[in-house]
């Protein structure tokens, strides 16, 4: 296209964003990194990392975070797949399903967390159904403030990220390919296993990563509905705000950001390699 002023003008256009992010994001991030590597007197040290990772409680926090995220991701996929298939069909109310699917990731996480807390409380409707309705249990079972409860709440809050990716991939698939498989004599299960799932693999991977990352960074839900189960995001807040130990909190934040970046990079490498393999065959 025709340039109106060349490189200098381009730089001028980019300047506000770059200056802003440098001052408001990268400077604080760098500051956090420096904090994590220094003690209260400003001397360089690795003690802050040792303080977090050198203890069993630190590893327990990490393990809890990863475990909750992995379980919630797996459970979410079980919800995402049928939902994605459903969204392909035309029926009255498909718009409502779309709307409902988007609700958890559009509303403030805190409101969702509050609602989940009330619904799954010992005196909430779910326990009322389990105990008084279905007579499955003699007394209310604890769901809030348990790990199982957190997994359930994570699913509620984050499954849409996966459902969107998988629904998009399924929608982009040529329906004639499935029709071809059926005409070729493949019964429905075989069409699913031999044709649809292999074709959905990139989307399943991408969707899983999206859900996992959201769970990994979850803050509002475990903050108010996790009780003593504090994943790393909540732990960082507690260490900084309650114990006022900003140096350890900074070290934890750096660990958390590094893990997340490593996950994203691993995914990118995996996805790129798979794409290259497909391209090499093509």
């Amino acid at each position: 296209m025709r340039r109106l002023g060349g490189g200098g003008f381009t730089a001028l256009l980019l300047l506000p964003l770059i200056v802003f992010l440098a001052l408001a994001f990268y400077y604080p991030l760098g500051f956090t990194l420096v904090q994590s590597l220094t003690d209260a007197k400003g001397h360089a040290t690795l003690a802050n990392f040792a303080h977090f990772l050198g203890r069993r409680s630190g590893w327990a926090t990490l393990w809890l975070t990863l475990l909750l995220s992995a379980l919630a991701t797996a459970a979410s996929l079980l919800l995402c797949l049928p939902l994605a298939f459903l969204l392909r069909r035309r029926f009255a109310g498909v718009g409502v399903v779309r709307f409902l699917m988007m609700v958890p990731i559009t509303i403030p996480a805190l409101v969702g967390a509050l609602g989940l807390l009330i619904l799954y409380d010992r005196t909430g409707w779910v326990n009322a159904l389990l105990v008084r309705g279905l007579h499955l249990f003699a007394s209310p079972i604890p769901i809030d403030y348990t790990r199982g409860g957190l997994v359930l709440f994570y699913v509620w809050m984050f499954f849409p990220y996966g459902a969107l990716v998988i629904a998009a991939a399924l929608g982009a698939m040529d329906p004639a390919v499935e029709e071809a498989a059926r005409v070729c004599g493949a019964p429905p299960w075989r069409v699913l296993v031999s044709v649809i799932l292999p074709l959905l693999r990139p989307a399943l991977l991408a969707g899983s990563v999206m859900i996992f990352l959201q769970c990994f960074g979850a803050f509002s839900v475990p903050l108010i509905a996790g009780g003593n189960w504090q994943p790393i995001a909540v732990r960082i807040y507690t260490v900084a705000n309650v114990f006022l130990d900003w140096h350890t909190a900074s070290a934890m934040a750096i660990v958390m950001a590094s893990i997340q970046c490593a996950l994203v990079l691993t995914y990118q490498v995996l996805a790129d390699r798979a794409a290259r393999r497909r391209a090499a065959r093509a």
Binding site: A176, V177, E179, A180, R182, V183, G185, R281
Partner: protein, 349 residues
């Protein structure tokens, strides 16, 4: 000769909500015949094919294959083969794996599978591409893989859904010949959906012309071409000229009373006479020729021939075509357009 593949379509109807996609379709397809469903888009031909394949269920009517009702039989148990407009190859499988797929789901052993896939690929001249990915192939090659995949398990009926529409013009003819060759060699019953009358005329034993969810004419290509049942069929077969007439006592008259000589079997009453542009003979006005007095309004050089747009004194517009050098007319020239009666096809409107 083939003994299986006799398909009876009996009174099939299908509607989408209030919209009738197919109404009362009845068609008997004898074993080994190549039948085309010809019609404009939206006429229901693809819907009918998908009903036969089992991808859709009819609202009423029956499908009977070799004496056995298959109306409610799920697709994967109908033992049909299908070639798709979009090729619909499995992108995650190689060419050979694509062709072997139907054998795999039928539990055919590995060695046998490979042998038969290779055989089918050889039949469509793609033996060299067995290990390639479908994406490496050109459109024409992909469609030949599609054809191999559809016939490798000797289906009872082969369904072809506009298999040439996604191909370049140059490839179409080659692929059309390939389809004709393969189906004749196998003697398989084939149903071919198309909106291109040339494909249908070239390939078929029989053509069913469809319009708005109904079959309007069934016949051999020669029948359909020579004796279109009505104005729609004639128009669809690519006649450039349509003259509305009133026929009384074997004499046709245009709206302004101009007399048009007709072939002997012309129907009485209101009718439409069709004629190809190349059958119209142009003569300079004032010569002793008998025909319609016209003015040349536009002319176009088309390579091996010239095309003329004409306007008759009554306002009627005609098209004529003549080989280069046969006649030289310019825009604005007055001409007489001769319409040889034996070339006119007169049908009810």
């Amino acid at each position: 000769m083939t003994t299986t593949g006799h398909l009876e379509i009996e009174g099939i109807a299908k509607s989408w909500g209030k919209l009738a996609a197919l109404s009362d379709i009845t068609l008997d397809i004898a074993a080994g015949r190549f039948v085309s469903l010809l019609g404009p888009s939206g006429c229901g031909k693809t819907t009918l094919l998908r009903l036969v394949a089992g991808s859709l269920a009819p609202d009423s009517g029956r499908l009977v294959l070799d004496g056995r009702e298959i109306t409610r039989l799920p697709t994967h148990r109908r033992n049909m083969g299908m070639v798709f407009q979009s090729f619909a190859l499995f992108p995650h499988l190689s060419v050979a794996e694509n062709v072997a797929f139907p054998l795999g789901v039928r539990g055919v052993g590995r060695a046998e599978r490979e042998r038969r896939a290779a055989e089918a690929l050889a039949m469509v001249h793609l033996a060299a591409y067995a290990g390639a990915s479908p994406r490496q192939l050109s459109g024409g090659q992909q469609q030949r893989v599609g054809l191999a995949r559809a016939i490798v398990y000797r289906p009872t009926v082969l369904l072809l859904d506009e298999p040439l529409s996604n191909l370049d013009t140059a490839l179409r003819e080659e692929m059309r010949l390939e389809i004709g060759e393969v189906t004749h060699r196998l003697g398989i019953t084939a149903i071919y959906v198309t909106h291109d009358q040339r494909e249908a005329l070239a390939l078929s034993d029989e053509i069913a012309v469809m319009r708005a969810g109904r079959i309007v004419q069934v016949g051999t290509p020669t029948d359909i071409h020579r004796r279109p049942a009505n104005a729609f069929v004639a128009g669809f077969l690519g006649y450039a000229n349509a003259l509305p007439l009133t026929v009384a006592g074997g004499v046709g008259r245009l709206a302004d009373g101009t007399v048009v000589a007709l072939p002997p079997e012309a129907p009485e009453g209101t009718a439409v006479a069709f004629m190809h542009a190349s059958d119209v003979v142009l003569r300079a006005a004032g010569s002793d020729a008998v025909g319609l007095a016209c003015e040349v309004t536009e002319l176009a050089f088309m390579g091996e021939r010239m095309e003329f747009a004409l306007r008759h004194v009554s306002g009627l517009r005609l098209k004529a075509a003549a080989p280069i050098g046969a006649s030289v007319f310019a825009r604005g020239d007055r001409v007489t357009a001769e319409l040889p009666p034996e070339r006119l096809v007169v049908v009810p409107p």
